[in-house]
């Protein structure tokens, strides 16, 4: 009979006072020793963390400003408005679904809040609450349609994407006779809302408050995934929805909830951008959904669901932010940034794939 150290509830007497327990127990020679390295490599975000360091050093060699506080405030700003939605897109992706309407939703939210504030003269705070409620409702419709029809979320949210894009242009033109909403700063309550959602801190470097929001969303997202029941359910429904359902996980509620949360935080990001600029374009946000997805995938999320992390998505967003600003700082043509993004995405997927195979062993 072999004695299991953990099973006995405490360290067995003969090993308690002496050396740490031997790395291999005589019980089962087939199990290879798990090295600390394997443990680290098993983390989804490890590839993105290494890439972020390499890219930071690379742009620093191109422009010393890149790693000075004034430079950092620049690229963390770009990263934060990609990172907040990217964390939610990552949670959704871990849950096994996509939301292609995530990008255009940031535009819709800014426009809705702007029109409510400037044309209907609502207090901006009430406009914000109404906008967030509307966005959450769109998320619910997305999720409900996906779960009800069992169609791929890719198709359902692609439809939402185009519907929202059309509404954004059509409604904005019909109401303002332009393709933008401006003068949001004239709405009541703008100053206080600006301070919380659009302002900056730490003079004279001007870090944006969106950075604080981003860090907070990442922290909460990580907590939810790693330490709450809902987090376990998200991994479960993404990894194998049937298996999760069989053990009693409310699969539909989890997925619909994820769609709603994604739309909510995308709208919040759109509100932050619109408040900061005091105006917003009808085409705002179109195409951004791919940046969110890239950030999530670079951060180690698996496209088929069940694997990934919130902090990884944030590291992915950080990489995108560094690339966009770094290319400017280096004095290159900014047109190159999309090529850079594509290369990063491809490299990240290949590296993550390799690392995961190594970490999980040969069998699958």
């Amino acid at each position: 009979m072999k004695v299991n150290r953990m099973a006995s509830g405490a360290v067995s007497p003969q090993t308690a006072g002496t050396a740490p327990p031997p790395p291999t127990r005589p019980g089962d020679e087939r199990l290879a020793q798990i090295s600390p390295m394997t443990r680290v490599l098993r983390r989804p975000e490890i590839g993105a963390a290494l890439a972020a360091i390499v890219i930071a050093i690379f742009f620093w060699t191109q422009s010393a400003l890149f790693l000075k506080l004034d430079g950092i405030s620049n690229w963390t700003d770009v990263a934060s408005t990609i990172g907040i939605p990217a964390v939610l897109v990552a949670l959704l992706m871990i849950g096994g679904e996509f939301d292609l309407s995530a990008g255009v939703m940031t535009g819709s939210a800014g426009l809705m809040m702007g029109i409510l504030g400037t044309e209907l003269h609502w207090n901006i705070w009430i406009a914000i609450v109404a906008t967030l409620a509307a966005a959450t409702a769109v998320g619910f419709v997305n999720g409900y349609m996906v779960m009800r029809t069992k169609l791929p979320s890719f198709i359902v949210t692609l439809a939402t994407f185009f519907i929202l894009q059309g509404v954004n242009l059509g409604v904005t033109k019909a109401i303002t006779s332009e393709v933008s909403v401006s003068g949001i700063d004239n709405a009541g309550g703008y100053d206080s809302a600006y301070k919380i959602f659009g302002g900056s801190f730490w003079e004279p470097h001007d870090f944006r408050v969106t950075l604080i929001w981003w860090v907070a969303v990442t922290a909460v997202g990580t907590w939810v995934l790693a330490r709450t029941r809902v987090g376990n359910w998200i991994f479960g429904v993404g990894g194998d929805a049937n298996a999760a359902r069989n053990v009693g996980v409310p699969v539909t509620q989890v997925k619909v909830g994820l769609f709603m949360a994604t739309s909510f935080f995308c709208a919040l990001t759109g509100i932050m951008i619109a408040l900061r600029l005091a105006s917003t374009q009808a085409g705002q946000g179109v195409g951004d959904e791919f940046q969110f997805i890239i950030a999530a995938v670079v951060g180690g999320c698996v496209l088929t669901g069940g694997f990934g992390s919130a902090i990884g998505a944030s590291l992915g967003a950080l990489i995108i932010g560094m690339a966009f600003i770094g290319i400017q700082f280096a004095g290159w043509n900014t047109d190159w940034r999309f090529l850079f993004l594509g290369v990063i995405l491809l490299a990240a997927v290949l590296v993550n794939n390799y690392i995961r195979k190594r970490a999980e062993g040969v069998r699958k």
């Binding site: 953990m6 099973a7 199990l31 987090g231 298996a243 069998r363």
Partner: protein, 296 residues
């Protein structure tokens, strides 16, 4: 010897079987899926439900596990007539089903899988969180009872072998208080050695006081662990025997209509009749189980 913990056997409250089906029938439109099936499941017993593809095994266990509802007959739990509207309800009454390929989530760690849907928590309000340490230690302990030594609870389930994955699902059902464990073809996707390992877990679950329903189309897997054999064919009950009332050869003939299956008969003797610690047997042939030819 196999390590078996001394767990209080499930006490049968009123002498009735844990689970009983009486003349259960199920129709899908005008198709008779199963007709007049009667089975009794008692604690400390393995009831094998045998039958070839299309015999009605899946329909029958889906009724027992709450996925489908029967159209005729009676379904009794502890002697009390019952009708489950969902698998969840069946689970709450202690009827746990382990589906062949749908038991675990490969990319999730073993402890997350073990507690998926029933996570232990600590703390209150927004700080209410999964008790990771408790979950990991419990999982390691429960699997150790089944003879599986898990060193790293964070290991993804996908890195375990097929037999070990079934064991995780079985251990989970036992831990969460199942009285009746329904195993849907747990060995059909496994090789000879792995099948033997799973059959050992089946025997262990039985020895811990559960009533086990073991669905299989392989009589050589059923015979060594079964206490009672129920053979279905084309939706009808062909017979119901206790061990000793029917020989292995007769069971095979019953299922297959006397087709030549001699090649199969020794397969499990090789796997199961050796001391369990020595598995796999040195001379065991590493080929996949040939499945019996269709009956009808």
């Amino acid at each position: 010897m196999t390590a078996v913990e001394s767990v209080d056997p499930v006490v049968e409250s009123n002498g009735a079987p844990l689970l009983e089906a009486r003349n259960i029938s199920k129709y899908f439109g005008n198709v008779i899926a199963i007709k007049d099936i009667s089975v009794q499941v008692s604690a400390n017993e393995v009831t094998c439900v045998l039958g070839d593809n299309g015999a009605g095994k899946s329909t029958f266990i889906k009724i027992l596990s709450g996925v489908h509802q029967h159209d005729e007959g009676e379904y009794l739990i502890d002697g009390e007539e019952t009708r489950f509207s969902s698998p969840r309800e069946a689970k709450e009454r202690g009827i746990a089903t382990v589906f062949q390929d749908l038991a675990t989530v490969p990319l999730m760690s073993i402890w997350r899988n073990f507690f998926l849907g029933s996570e232990p928590t600590k703390g209150k309000g927004p700080l209410r969180r999964v008790d990771v340490k408790f979950a990991q230690e419990t999982m390691v302990e429960q699997l150790a009872r089944m003879g599986i030594d898990i060193r790293d609870p964070d290991q993804p389930v996908g890195t375990l072998s097929g037999g070990e994955r079934q064991a995780v699902a079985i251990a989970r059902a036992v831990y969460f208080g199942a009285k009746v464990l329904i195993l849907d073809e747990p060995t059909s996707a496994l090789g000879v050695k792995q099948s033997g390992v799973v059959l050992r877990y089946v025997a262990q679950a039985r020895d811990r006081g559960l009533g086990v329903i073991f669905i299989t189309h392989n009589p050589n897997h059923a015979y060594p662990v079964g206490d009672r054999f129920v053979v279905l064919n084309r939706g009808r009950l062909m017979g119901n025997w206790k061990k000793g009332e029917i020989s292995r050869d007769d069971l095979i003939k019953m299922m297959s209509g006397g087709a030549e299956l001699d090649a199969l008969t020794h397969e499990l003797e090789r796997v199961l009749d050796v001391p369990s610690e020595d598995l796999p047997a040195p001379g065991a042939v590493e080929t996949d189980t040939p499945t019996p030819p269709p009956a009808g």
